[in-house]
């Protein structure tokens, strides 16, 4: 790995009482001693599988950079001949790294939403910075999404990795950012529009965790959030085990199993017969996966549903009827077929008042980053945390 881990004390403006703290002090970046003239705001969803960055100059409403990048760093292996890797680069990121899989050592900086490989995470953040500010001259202020259950260590790890790369940072839990990103600002205040920031329940199904969060017009407290360590990766695990049991020595990799899930996965009653063509040992085979896919998908529902009803019961009696109209499923797991209809049906069957469960839609990958950019634009000067060496 190319960069050493940084272990620096960090002073955060949030712990400094007056808003003069951050405004008057010049930004001290270890990269440069000259004051920076331009400020770029970054909304950053640092995901386990994919990250999304949106950026725009401070004081404008423009979004100049909008990118989804697989959260992976590829370190080019020794002995790769010139010209094999375009530009003879030694570190590749995202899709570039994946395309050159054979020539690089792939490192995923995060696992289950928290940093696992600090050096790779720093390299990844530098890459993100270079996307937002190719000149390298701007002051970068980043709002970064964190898993709802991230502990202080996980938060410190991000701050440490961001030291010297971003100038100011603000860590905000992802479910809240998703609500902010999903909110249609042009419709806020219109009759009939239920502002998701005022009254909604978000179910974010990612790779490692499913996070449920009540957002009700104030910042969600711990009691408003439930994080379950069961999500897309766990479905892959169940699917893989079942396939091994029914079709021993099938040789299907985890990546292949995930592809099968993404192409055919569903929840609800069995959709048998459901034949899926796969290549096993170089030969095409047709597998009957109707039951296996239903079992693995429904296992997720079994975990999520009790958490969903627990949070609904925590909502106040004045807000719960409207809340039931605004249950939103987001994250990669929201793409599993039938998940909205099944959750809605279960709530209806259990007697909840006209519940409405909807999907965040194809844009789900950008909502956290969009919410983060909105937060960056709205943050007061004294709310930014200054990373100091």
């Amino acid at each position: 790995m190319s960069t050493a881990t940084v272990d620096k004390p960090i002073i955060t403006a949030a712990h400094i009482p007056t808003n003069a703290a951050a405004t008057s002090a010049p930004v001290r970046s270890p990269n440069s001693t000259t004051p920076k003239t331009k400020t770029i705001l970054l909304g950053f969803d640092l995901g386990t599988n994919k990250s999304c960055v949106l950026a725009g100059a401070a004081g404008t409403a423009d979004i100049t950079v909008s990118k989804v990048v697989p959260s992976v760093v590829g370190y080019v292996k020794d002995g790769i001949v010139d010209g094999i890797v375009a530009g003879n680069r030694t570190i590749l990121f995202g899709d570039d790294a994946l395309t050159n899989m054979l020539h690089v050592k792939l490192v995923a900086p995060l696992q289950q939403g928290v940093i696992q490989h600090p050096d790779a995470a720093r390299d990844f953040l530098k890459h993100i910075r270079s996307l937002a500010d190719p000149s390298g001259q701007a002051e970068i202020r980043a709002v970064v999404g964190m898993p709802a259950n991230a502990d202080e260590k996980a938060r410190d790890d991000i701050r440490r990795c961001a030291y010297g790369i971003f100038d100011r940072i603000l860590l905000i839990p992802e479910p809240f950012l998703a609500a902010l990103g999903y909110r249609d600002d042009s419709r806020v205040g219109q009759s009939g529009y239920i502002d998701p920031v005022v009254n909604a329940l978000f179910i974010d199904i990612g790779g490692g965790t499913s996070d449920l969060c009540l957002v009700q017009g104030y910042f969600p407290t711990r009691e408003d959030q439930i994080s379950i360590p069961f999500a897309g990766d766990a479905i892959d695990g169940l699917l893989s085990d079942e396939l091994d049991r029914i079709y021993p020595n099938n040789g299907l990799s985890r990546i292949k199993v995930r592809e099968i899930k993404e192409a055919h996965g569903y929840v609800g009653p069995s959709r048998k017969p459901l034949e899926v063509k796969v290549i096993m040992g170089g030969k095409a085979r047709s597998l009957e996966l109707g039951d296996v896919l239903a079992q693995s998908g429904n296992a997720l529902i079994d975990k999520i549903y009790p958490a969903l009803t627990t949070l609904i019961q925590r909502a106040s009696s004045d807000s719960v009827v409207t809340l039931l109209q605004n249950i939103i499923v987001t994250g990669g797991g929201s793409q599993i077929r039938g998940i909205d209809t099944l959750l809605q049906k279960k709530l209806t069957d259990d007697g909840y008042e006209t519940p409405k469960v909807r999907l965040a839609g194809q844009d789900y990958k950008r909502y956290v980053a969009l919410g983060a950019l909105k937060a960056a634009r709205a943050a007061r000067e004294n709310q930014w945390q200054v990373l100091l060496g």
């Binding site: 007056t18 808003n19 809240f176 104030y218 910042f219 807000s319 634009r377 709205a378």
Partner: protein, 138 residues
């Protein structure tokens, strides 16, 4: 009136100051009809901020409540008196500012950062305040 106005940290940071700040926000939220939020703040933030105080430096929570409530009431009164006067003097300016003007808009905030109209949710910055208050060590 935006909750931001009174919640800007103008007092020195101290446990008592923190309790006072939270109570002021509670009073303000109540005054603008956002009682459920005020109740939440009271249950969560205020409870955790005041529980760790050895003795509030002689002040009781009730005394701070009544002081802050009267400040908020005074502020509301001033606002009520000032509003028509301001509307009168700024009215013509506001009416003409958009007509055929190429001048940049006065507000530099993006729509998402705009202060809330009455009865609408707190501004995003208020939410962030709420988050930072939760994170703050007791």
């Amino acid at each position: 009136m935006s909750p931001e106005i009174l919640s800007s940290p103008t007092v020195e940071y101290s446990p008592v100051g923190e309790v006072r700040r939270i109570i002021r926000r509670i009073c303000l939220l109540r005054a603008v009809g956002r009682a459920p939020e005020a109740a939440r703040l009271e249950l969560n933030e205020l409870a955790s901020a005041s529980v760790h105080l050895p003795g509030l430096g002689g002040e009781s929570v009730e005394a701070i409540f009544s002081e802050e409530m009267s400040r908020v009431t005074d502020a509301s009164l001033v606002a009520e008196l000032m509003a028509p006067l301001l509307a009168q003097s700024l009215g013509p300016l506001l009416r003409t500012s958009n007509v055929g003007s190429t001048a940049p808009p006065i507000a530099t905030r993006t729509p998402s950062a705009a202060p809330p109209a009455n009865g609408s949710p707190p501004s995003i910055a208020d939410f962030i305040d709420g988050m930072l208050a939760q994170e703050r060590p007791a």
